[in-house]
Amino acid sequence: MHPDHYRHTELPPSTEYELYFGPNHPGIEGNYALKARLAGDTVVALEADGGYLHRGFEKLMEQRLWIQNIALVPRICVPDPVPMEETYARAVETLGGLEVPERAQWLRMLVLEMSRLTAHLFYFGGHAATVGLYTNMFWGVSDRDRLLDCFEQLTGARVYHMYITPGGVRRDTPPGFLDSLSEVLDYVEGRLPKFDDLFFDNAVLVRRATGTGTMDQAFAIDYGVTGPNLRATGLAHDLRRDYPYLKYAEVEFDVITETAGDAYARTLVRRGEVIESLRILRQVIDKLRSVPGPIRCPLPNPLAWRIPAGDAYTRTESSKGELAYYIVSDGSAKPWRVHVRGPSQMHAVQTLEALCVGARIEDVAQIMFSLDACPPEVDR
């Protein structure tokens, strides 16, 4: 078939041209599009185009009961769903004045940090794949799968756990779970030197990632960059430490920072966070062995559960940055307004657009992945 009669578009002569990145493009994380104006190999201007994953979550949540929304929230960010549940649940608890039992708080920290681990392992793979190191992607994803198995053991689901409910968690640890989790953690820790050899110390990767997508601290703060991306510019800000929620005040961990602010620094920060997550998880496991108690506070009939009027703004440090929910209740059985503030809303639009200007076309995908932008968070 020859499309001889297809229309040719005549454009005025120019040294610049437009290139569409996505939505169907392997260099795009998720379903997202970038429209780049290029002069030769250099990006002159970049425009992000979102909304491909828009499902109207905020509207849907106004239509559902407080308890029904537990099923909706994890679906807002696919690679790292647990912080979504935690933030929503904490907002509802703040509004409803619920007291979360101690054991439930430790269990929540457990799943939060496990989710951070899975997200970072996924990130290692994603970042490596954008620069052509596919082996790392295979390793990262298959190691992540071991953690997903632990999730399955604990919650019954691999990806969307819906484990954290307002007032506690859904179920207690099954017998033998903590031991098998410890084994997996040891395994992941044992794998890190291999990732170092393959990925972090790889001369070609260092060459490519150093100086790519560099931002300084002032820029990062200006553009509302949070999380590991902010810490890669040298500002030690971590909500887990600065606004401690759950039992984060009782565990020991370091806030990892780097100063270079480029793609490589962001990767190194995440590598450090994997180690810190392992450290936190081990402390949590120790606590869970000793702390007894109920795993959730008594709830009223969930189908007729009214939350007192008011508003709450809760924030969580997700693997991508500062995740926040603003929830308004008018005293009825459904939320009046839920606003989701995902960290990627800052990273994937304005920051990405600004960082890519002047970058080479080779690096656009790498910059997007190194920011760990999560399009569903932007689109909601």
């Binding site: 078939m1 020859h2 620069v131 052509g132 490519r208």
Partner: protein
């Protein structure tokens, strides 16, 4: 064996060996990535399926012609490459002819991709030609050095010189190790493997030249890949590893060349375009020049 039969058998043998090399490549990649990998018939099935597509989109005459140029060029190369028992056209042309013919597929790709009018493809071709400028220089120096060393550009004679006495000491890699090393680097880039994979680069330009290729066009490129693996590895074997007395030794050596390349490729990301040139013009070219100097000293003595 009559020349007509040889002209038929040589591409066929090259294709089958190339298929096996593709399979090895995928299997090695799979085991580095800790998985099982495809079954043995996979490369063949892929190609058959692509040719059996019901709808095939062509982007114009040049697209069709170019893809034939790609395949024709690479088959020509095979015909000029002597293998055990079959010397094909190698008596009619020499090393220089071979090197010129080896460029035809890349140029053919450039023509065809231009017609598809996909910006990703154009960027890919620009990158491919740039990378070619990177690896062809060290490769030409290596070939020139080898020709100087052997005192001939006739591949059959080169083989005879190396196989003389059946000892390792006459092999190119023993006589001129620096050139052999430099040529190995260049061969790696020629095969388009990481870290020199810039012109395919799925995450950047969506497989570049292949972006608009569907059905039989992609199938032809798959076939070309088989031929390319064969020609590049056999050429290297012929120049530096003493060729083969029999198919068994030839294949052993050719597979070893591809194997080295495949092992390296799976643990590196890709370089940027400028880094490819910088690297190729620094290391392989430098080593090749040193090797050339040594060859000249040897001859002068």
């Amino acid at each position: 064996m009559s020349i007509a039969l040889q002209l038929l058998l040589m591409p066929l043998a090259a294709f089958l060996v190339g298929l096996a090399m593709v399979l090895m490549m995928r299997k090695v990649r799979a085991s580095v990535e800790r998985r099982i990998g495809p079954p043995w018939y996979q490369p063949l099935f892929d190609i058959y399926k692509l040719f059996a597509k019901d709808t095939q989109i062509s982007h114009g005459v040049m697209h069709d012609v170019a893809i034939m140029m790609v395949l024709g060029g690479i088959i020509c190369v095979v015909l000029f490459l002597p293998v055990p028992g079959m010397s094909g056209l190698s008596a009619k042309g020499d090393l220089i002819t071979l090197l010129y013919l080896m460029m035809v597929p890349s140029l053919g790709m450039a023509l065809g991709v231009g017609q598809t009018a996909n910006p990703n493809g154009s960027i890919g071709i620009a990158r491919a030609l740039t990378a070619m400028a990177g690896y062809e220089i060290p490769f030409f120096i290596c070939v020139a050095g080898a020709a100087l060393h052997y005192g001939t550009t006739d591949l059959n004679q080169i083989l005879t010189i190396q196989q003389h006495g059946g000892h390792l000491e006459h092999w190119g890699i023993v006589q001129m190790p620096l050139l052999a090393v430099a040529a190995l680097f260049a061969v790696h880039a020629m095969l388009g493997k990481e870290p020199f994979e810039i012109y395919v680069a799925p995450a950047e330009i969506a497989t570049g030249p292949m972006v608009e290729m569907s059905g039989k066009y992609l199938g032809t490129l798959f076939v070309m890949q088989c031929f390319q693996l064969f020609t590049v590895s056999v050429l290297y074997t012929t120049l530096f590893l003493g060729g083969g007395f029999s198919w068994f030794t030839l294949l052993l050596k050719a597979f070893a060349v591809v194997f080295i390349s495949v092992l390296v490729t799976n643990v590196y990301p890709r370089y940027r375009t400028d880094d490819v040139l910088r690297w190729q013009w620094k290391w392989p070219t430098g080593i090749a020049l040193l090797g050339l100097g040594m060859v000249m000293l040897q001859i002068g003595r």
